[in-house]
């Protein structure tokens, strides 16, 4: 076993030092009646080449951008990740370390998190960011819990066009807490119905949670929604599953959001069948002490040299136990590092240019698909890099027919909205060339015929 260095002689010597006769003696305090009396029914050990062979066999059974042209989005996005990213995170000083409990030998991780927190603040227009959370959906649930703590109110309004998996996650987290979740309807434009929203907002509302862009790719009028929420003393929570958009659309902070959460997978991480990504979480200075999750802060060492430490730990479970702001005890360290490296590479201009490419390609595709007989674009409000298409037949069956042509054309919306059997969600990123888009249009035309 190449990961276990013990020779037989080592084992013998070590048992002698311990003063027992056999390995078996070390387990003497485990009662007989709970012992496993047979070998595990598992595979026999494989060599490294066999393991690689087996995993490659599995890999060949999956469709990816190497086998298909993909227009899949819906919470996970196909963006280019510069070679530098994987190269740097493969330094095992980063990936084989744990949480920076000992700051003197963890300054690499700590400074990187401090930079990540800064970048997230700049991107979202907020004052404070935590060191990251599991993913966008769970960060959204944590935002709901924080809004309830901060306002001491118990009703939370969730936009119906917020990513459905974010809504489901919020519902799971709130399942046994005294929190009422209310759905806010949307209009034919695809945006939140502000009139109905006004009726639902009252002094009992802790927060309004809005997708920005929303699940249909539409850019909400976040400033107006923030004003409506603030009128009754509720917080506005903005949730972004495609953060590349923030390179081009106004920051939630500028528009009045109180808590900004989202998924950072777009920033250099592979889609990896849905995880790991990284949940970002940012808020205002005044609510910093009720923020969930890890925080890194600046300080100095004994000699006055600047450095970084984990801080404000009195909010956290290892000190506060059942009164903690969350049960989370880690962050998505390496994924936050990926986002950090990626955002540094893209910089001020790169992220904007990238967002502009996504927007332009999606607009080109939207116009071309909307012009095909039998297809239309049902929602009228502006979108970023995703949009909903309506087809006059069964969208699911039509998408399946595209697969034979090597195209993953979109996500059938019946998956989340049973009434939307004619609709699907198309995502176009900088990774889709004009030729890809034109091929999709040709294939869709064929789908009608």
């Amino acid at each position: 076993m190449r990961y276990i260095p013990h020779t037989e002689e080592d084992v013998r010597q070590m048992l002698g030092t311990i003063g027992v006769d056999s390995i078996e003696d070390l387990f003497s305090e485990i009662p007989r009646d709970v012992r496993l009396d047979r070998p595990y029914d598992l595979v026999a050990p494989m060599s490294e080449s066999e393991v690689l062979g087996e995993l490659k066999r599995l890999a060949r059974q999956n469709a990816t951008v190497e086998t298909h042209t993909s227009f899949l989005g819906g919470g996970a996005y196909n963006h280019f990740s510069p070679s530098v990213v994987d190269h740097l995170i493969s330094r095992s000083e980063f990936y084989s370390a744990y949480t920076p409990y000992q700051p003197e030998i963890s300054q690499g991780t700590l400074q990187a998190i401090f930079e990540y927190q800064t970048l997230i603040c700049q991107l979202t227009g907020m004052d404070v960011s935590n060191a990251s959370m599991y993913d966008g959906a769970s960060a959204c649930a944590e935002a709901v819990l924080m809004s309830v703590r901060a306002t001491r109110r118990s009703k939370v309004l969730l936009a119906s066009n917020l990513h459905p998996e974010y809504r489901e996650t919020v519902a799971t987290y709130c399942r046994y807490l005294d929190i009422e979740l209310v759905a806010v309807p949307y209009l034919e434009s695809g945006r939140i119905d502000q009139k109905l929203l006004s009726g639902l907002l009252d002094k009992g509302a802790a927060a309004l949670v809005v997708g920005y862009p929303n699940f249909f790719g539409i850019i909400e009028e976040l400033g107006v929604l923030a004003d409506l929420a603030h009128e009754v003393g509720a917080l506005l929570v903005s949730a972004t599953s495609e953060p590349v958009a923030l390179g081009k659309i106004k920051s939630p902070g500028e528009l009045g959001a109180d808590i900004v959460v989202g998924e950072g997978q777009s920033f250099g991480m592979p889609v990896s069948f849905g995880g790991p990504g990284v949940g970002f979480f940012a808020t205002r200075q005044k609510t910093v002490r009720s923020i969930p999750g890890r925080l890194v802060g600046a300080t100095t060492d004994k000699d006055g040299k600047p450095g970084y430490v984990l801080t404000l730990a009195t909010r956290e479970q290892h000190i506060r136990r059942e009164k903690a702001t969350s049960n989370i005890c880690s962050n998505q360290g390496l994924c936050a590092l990926i986002a950090n490296i990626y955002l540094c590479l893209m910089g001020k201009n790169g992220l904007r240019e990238l967002a502009e490419q996504n927007l332009a390609k999606a607009e080109y595709a939207k116009a071309a698909i909307g012009a095909i007989d039998g297809f239309s674009i049902p929602f009228t409000a502006p979108t970023f890099n995703e949009f909903v298409v309506e087809f006059e037949g069964d969208a699911d069956a039509m998408l399946e027919s595209l697969e034979a042509q090597g195209i993953l054309g979109g996500i059938p919306l019946t998956k989340y909205f049973p009434e939307m059997e004619n609709r699907f969600l198309v995502c176009v990123t900088e990774q889709n060339s004009k030729a890809d888009i034109d091929a999709l249009v040709v294939a869709l035309k064929g789908g009608v015929a």
């Binding site: 305090e29 012992r35 740097l88 980063f94 930079e115 332009a360 390609k361 080109y364 502006p382």
Partner: protein, 488 residues
């Protein structure tokens, strides 16, 4: 004195923002091949204020230099108790990056993602076999997330029985996530004391069990590294009283192939793939916290559930009693892949050997140190040994010992946990360390104990070989500076 830590070449490195120079760039994009488009002005952002402008070389050098200030498992011995800092196999990193796996989109139709779904199914089956449970969910992203999944299932089960029990029993040795999780599920926490021998007795549990208790959360082996020998009896008492038993599986590395929690009567347990199954800790994550459950909780599993029908795998969303989902998609797939590669590499017999050697290593350290360091609990321990700082001379405490170990070239053990031990020093060597490494480490521990007696300044001033000396954590919390701002 045999120190493996030296000063080396230590480079200064400023914040990435301080490297920024307008006009520098570190990216390249293909030329736009469609007409440009614009958004209405009221939606458009003009610039991301403060974002850096740096070259590719700037970025590579910056992060490479930062990395040299870190200590990882590949750097040296990392006996951080309860965290199972074992070697992270390199082939697993290759596997997780295979384009056909890393590049598979979560919305790919099931008919075109059979490889991904099949791996998840097989991993579920393997974890169930390893632990003696009837079903496993892979959705939770970390151990604490798994606790949440497990406790929500327990509550859902109670509600389905029409029971509205409100309390959860948690031993005083438990990790802080246990009470925090119970609270998140709407439960009141009742702390219970472990006995003088460091284990929870059946009598203690019986004394606290009543009709208002929904569950007991237990860690086995516990955070003192001791197997809860009464576990079967404890489970029976809780079950007879109408409750369920949750086991924190953080220490599963001690018992593979020896004893299965499911067989002992435990109802729910989370795994930490980033501990037991060798996936990297990543400086704090991503991890993965699958949960094993017994039959009666199957209806409440988070959805979707990966199921097999004939030769095909699919995601089952049609589960009316499910607690719902805890995150988007299906879990940290990239971490599951690494764990699966590890299980294939080790096989059943290899995993048993893992636990045997992990326990041998911990007991070896204990034997070499227990005459010098105070060992508060004498029971035979398994995968970790917990000492206190009672015997440490010269006015030195656990923190000073920890910092001095850095000078010797080691990552310190977990300190001041579990809370039941004054100045706890919790050492978990794992199975991937050789006798030579353990001997060098023990020699360092013994040398430090002598230094504490004769030259305590060496401990009190430590660390001295790092880029920074001890950091002021109080100042950081008093006036939090949590981000960089350019000077005006």
């Amino acid at each position: 004195m045999n120190r493996i830590g030296t000063r080396g070449l230590i480079l200064k490195e400023k914040l990435i923002f301080e490297h920024s120079d307008p006009g520098r760039k570190g990216y390249s994009l293909p030329a736009l091949d469609v007409p440009p488009s614009t958004l209405p002005e009221e939606l458009s952002r003009l610039e991301i204020e403060g974002f850096p402008e740096v070259s590719e070389v700037d970025v590579v050098r910056h992060f490479t230099r930062l990395s040299t200030w870190n200590y990882g498992v590949d750097t040296g011995f990392y006996p951080l108790g309860s965290c199972t800092m074992k070697y992270n196999p390199k082939v697993n990193e290759v596997v997780a990056r295979l384009p056909g796996l890393a590049g598979c989109h979560p919305h790919t139709p099931e008919r075109l993602s059979q490889g991904a779904l099949g791996m998840m199914y097989d991993l579920q089956v393997a974890l169930a076999e390893l632990s003696g449970f009837d079903a496993v969910t892979l959705q939770p992203a970390a151990g604490a997330h798994g606790e949440l999944a497990g406790m929500l299932m327990i509550r859902a089960w109670h509600e389905a029985q029409g029971s509205s029990r409100k309390k959860v029993l948690i031993p005083d040795t438990a990790h802080g996530t246990n009470p925090a999780t119970a609270a998140l599920c709407g439960y009141d926490v009742v702390p219970i004391a472990s006995g003088d021998s460091g284990v929870l007795t059946a009598e203690t549990v019986a004394a606290h069990m009543n009709e208002d208790v929904a569950a007991l959360m237990i860690t086995n082996p516990n955070t003192l590294g001791i197997y809860e020998a009464d576990i079967r009896k404890i489970c029976e008492i809780v079950h007879e009283g109408g409750g369920l038993v949750y086991c924190d599986g953080a220490n599963f590395n001690a018992v593979m192939g020896i004893a299965r929690p499911g067989d002992a009567g435990v109802d729910v347990m989370h795994f930490n793939l980033h501990k037991t199954f060798a996936t990297p800790h990543g400086g704090g994550g991503p991890g993965s916290g699958p949960v094993g459950i017994n039959k009666k909780l199957i209806p409440y599993l988070p959805k979707p559930v990966v199921v097999r029908e004939g030769e095909k795998y699919r995601l089952d969303y049609d589960r009316l009693e499910s607690i719902g989902r805890l995150r988007s998609f299906y879990g940290n797939f990239g971490i599951m892949l690494r764990a699966w590669a590890y299980i294939l590499t080790m096989g059943g017999e290899g995993l048993k050997q893992v636990s045997e050697m992990a326990v041998l290593n911990a007991n070896y350290i204990r034997a070499r140190l227990e005459e010098t360091y105070h060992l508060p609990y004498k029971n035979r321990s398994l995968h970790e040994a917990v000492f206190s700082d009672k015997n440490l001379g010269g006015g030195c405490h656990t923190l000073d010992l920890a910092k001095r170990l850095i000078d010797y070239g080691y990552h310190p053990p977990t300190v001041y946990f579990p809370l039941v031990v004054q100045g706890a020093i919790m050492i978990e060597p794992t199975e991937t360390e050789s006798m030579e490494v353990l001997d060098e480490f023990c020699d360092a521990m013994l040398a430090i104990a002598e230094e504490a007696e004769n030259n305590p300044e060496l401990l009190l001033e430590a660390p001295s070989v790092t880029a920074l000396s001890r950091l002021d954590e109080t100042a950081a919390a008093r006036k939090p500076v949590l981000r960089y701002r350019a000077e005006a």
